[in-house]
Every structure is written in structure tokens, then in C-alpha cells.
Symmetry: C2
Subunit: 272 residues, 2 copies
């Protein structure tokens, strides 16, 4: 999905919600566990319940990889089931030397047909570039993540530019790709910094994890992060897909996604 | 495999060679392509031919992941086939928020039973710690990689410590884990820097990619990197496994692995 289409979907649905499909077999309601493919069955019902309120789905690849070969089958079935008007993100955080990144790119973009993949910046340009060789596909580069360990290295200040590492990542990566191919991961737990981070990359979309279970503030993120083309995809995973652990899990997920989307509609009108 | 056993294997074989199983279906000799599982058949013959000359095998996970579910089956069969006296490394370069890293750790350490996994440091302590919760298992943390893009961020100098990012990674990570659980990736293409990098982590093993196809200098790496407990695992992938593309690929791989091991024997006597 290209940028124009993504923005059109956001305007149509009045939502910039991304639903994280961090599907853990242990957390699936018991009545689904005897299904042929419980993980896919769970995802299918979550997608049915939420797709009117979100513009993107983000399967967290670790959850599928942890299940071995059958996990990859559940993942592919899930991806094939997601409606074509939704943007799809492989949350894989890959990044390796050139020829290896090319293989990851082929796996996620060609074999599986994701729109986007999350990539770690530590190994630099030649680890990211192979993902940019696929027309119409996106790299979402880790910049300032939402976890506590993000302070360990991402906040290191450069002695020459006096910018922090994540700021260097945001600036340098913009020389590698346009806002039609590249987004950045910026955690919602850093809501107070969104104004300055937005100033570093005014035209680029940010994928924002950390609201919901991780406690980030959607209003502040929206106030400081929204642009006139939206520029945000805000992810919620556990707070939506595990809104209930009972038979009514899909209904509860729908109510939760609707609630977030209604909040987003307000912010789109107020701040965008 | 614990540190004592790894050092014992190195002393017995007089080798610190790691063979990288970057097995690409396209590069497998034609006569194997009709086998039930060509990738496993290739790996099996490579392992048979080289295990007397190396102490470790490192499958590059991207190569298997790119093949979809059947790639994971080839990987598991390969891992099960590697002799028990060889150290096994999943070159996966994972790293994610805590609960996700836990899933990756479980997949590679429990489901697949690798001894070690390569991990990217960008997300900091809580992205690395879950991998350290598995007794007898190892984290091999990216520090100074062998690719050209390593200069983009890894060489950024801190305004407070005046150390480079990769030096900060090496120092900080030593507060997270002992030399019995943690190693660092240091590329051979930085051979001239091995002396100072070794001084930062005198007791820790380094996994060294970049000799062979990438052009690193084994003698310099050994001269400056070896410790009295060896402290090095030097990886070669393409130069060994693709030493010949013909029917004699296993014989050629054996000759190449033997050649590297003979060089290593000299260096162990001279520098260790």
C-alpha cells in the first residue's frame, strides 16, 4: 500500500489505529484451543471484529516464530485474511549485512507480501538498503523505542553533533529513503518528546507502540505527533486482543478498538 | 555448552573456527537439488566434512526463514545433526521488548536447542536480559560489525565518555552478564582495532565474522584478539561451504576448513 492510499484509508476510517497481533496460544480463549489452527482462528475473529476501526495490523513475528513451522503457516493465513484496505506490518526488527537483509526482505515482502517491516538500525545503511529495493514496500526503522532499555544506547549524545543516537538515526535515514518508503518507530512512552521528534522528520510517518498495556498517552502523542497528513500509526496490542479472555473476546476487542478509534477521530479534528 | 567445555574443545581440536551455514538453495550443487530436503542434505555433507576442523556451527537464520515453513524444518534437522561436541549459534540478530525477547529466547534455546544466539543491542538491557535467563545458554551481542554500514552509528562518539557506541555496548553489557554467558560480535574487517577492543573485554569471547569472502585478516585478528583461553571464535561461511559448486563440494569444504584450522593451530601456539 502506498502513502496516498494509506492516508486515504486514515481519512475514510477517521482512525490511525494499528492492531498488534501478538497472539500467544496460552492466552487464546479455551473454546478456540481445539480448532484446527487456534492462532489463525483467534486472529480471524479479531480481524473481523476490528477492521472497521483500524487502518493497519502488525503481527509480532516472535509470537509466530516461537511456535515453529506451524507458526509460519498461521502467520501466512492471517496475512492473507487481512482485508486489502488495511496496511500490514511485520514486526520483525531485522537488520543484518546486505546479502542477509536481502533474504529477509524477500521473505517478508515477496513470499509473505507484507507492506512493511520493522528494521533495527545498529548495522547502518547497507543493512537497511536491501529492504528499500522493493517497490511499494516500507521500512519502519527503530528510532526511540518504548521500553525501559531504550535509555541505554538510544539516548547517547554525539560529541560532534550533540544529538542523541535516535536523533542521528532519524536524520541519517532520511538521506536513504523518502517519506513514501520509510517510517520511524517512536514509543508513546516518550510523549513529552514528540514535539521535538516530529520537528526532525516533519513528513515521515511514525509507528507508535506503547499505548494501552505499556501506559503511553494517546492524547499527548496525537497533539505533538499529528501532521496535516496524519503522520501517525498508533499501535495497541494486548489492550485490544486480550480485552477479554472469555468467549466474548472478539466483542470485547471490537469495543476497545472502537473506543480508541473514537478518541482518534477527536484528535484528528482537533490537532491535524 | 559451557565455557569450560568450549575451551576444552578448542584445545583438543587446536581450532577456533566456526563454520557459517549460510545455505542458499540457489547455490547448492545441482545433483543435490532433487533430494527430499536439499538444504539439509547439503548441510549434512558439509558437517560430515568439516566437524573435525571446527568447534562451532552458525546457521544464518535468514537463509532458512526465506524458505518459509520448510526452511525451519531443514534448520531443525541440521541442528539435530551437528555433533554434540560442537557449539551452535543461531545467527538471528534478534532484540525486542522484554516479553517478545522471551519468546525468541524460548524458540531458539528451548524449541531448537541452540547454545547461543546473536542479539542486536539497540533496544538496551531489557531486550537482552530475557536471553540470559536460560542456564547454559549464551548471548552474542553485536558490537562492531564487519559491514560497511557499521560506521554509520557504531562509531558515534559519546559526548560524556568520549567512547564510541560499540565501546559503550561492550562495557555496559559486561554489567549484565559474565564471560560464561556473553560474547561479542567484532568484525575481522576491523583487525587493526582488535588490540583496543580486547582491552575493553579481556575475558570475553569474540565471535569474529569477516574473514574469507569479506576479506578480514586472520593473522592480525589472532595476534591481537587471542587470550590465554583463546577467547575467539572466527567464522567463515561462503569461503568454506561454497569452496566448490560441483559434486566435490564437501571435499573442497573439508580442504578449506582444514587449511584455516592449520593456520589457527599456528596462531594458538604463537599468540595464545
Amino acid at each position: 500500500m502506498n502513502r496516498t492510499e494509506l492516508i486515504r484509508q486514515i481519512r475514510e476510517k477517521q482512525s490511525y489505529l494499528c492492531v498488534g497481533l501478538d497472539t500467544d496460544f496460552e492466552k487464546i480463549p479455551d473454546h478456540l484451543k481445539s480448532a484446527d489452527d487456534p492462532v489463525f482462528e483467534f486472529n480471524k475473529q479479531i480481524i473481523d471484529a476490528t477492521h472497521a476501526f483500524c487502518v493497519a495490523y502488525k503481527p509480532n513475528i516472535a509470537f509466530y516464530e516461537a511456535m515453529g513451522p506451524k507458526g509460519w503457516i498461521s502467520l501466512q493465513k492471517t496475512l492473507d485474511y487481512i482485508p486489502k484496505n488495511c496496511f500490514t506490518i511485520a514486526d520483525a526488527k531485522r537488520g543484518d549485512i546486505g546479502n542477509t537483509s536481502t533474504l529477509y526482505a524477500r521473505a517478508f515482502f515477496k513470499e509473505m507480501n507484507f507492506d512493511a517491516i520493522t528494521v533495527a538500525p545498529y548495522m547502518g545503511e547497507d543493512s537497511v538498503k536491501p529492504f528499500l529495493q522493493f517497490a511499494g514496500k516500507w521500512v519502519i526503522l527503530l528510532a526511540h523505542t518504548s521500553n525501559s532499555g531504550s535509555a541505554d544506547f538510544q539516548l547517547m549524545e554525539s560529541s560532534s553533533s550533540h544529538r542523541k543516537l535516535y536523533e542521528e538515526v532519524i536524520l541519517k535515514a532520511q538521506t536513504w529513503a523518502s517519506s513514501g518508503q520509510l517510517m520511524f518507530v517512536v514509543g508513546a512512552t516518550q510523549a513529552e518528546k514528540f514535539k521535538e521528534i516530529r520537528a526532525l522528520a516533519p513528513d515521515y510517518f511514525f509507528l507508535v507502540p506503547g499505548i494501552g498495556a505499556q501506559g503511553g498517552d494517546l492524547e499527548k502523542v496525537s497533539q505533538y505527533g499529528l501532521t496535516n497528513e496524519c503522520g501517525l500509526l498508533v499501535n495497541a496490542s494486548r489492550s485490544i486482543i486480550y480485552a477479554s479472555s472469555g468467549n466474548n473476546f472478539a466483542k470485547a476487542a471490537k469495543a476497545e478498538a472502537r473506543k480508541v478509534a473514537e478518541e482518534m477521530k477527536l484528535y484528528l479534528n482537533k490537532f491535524s
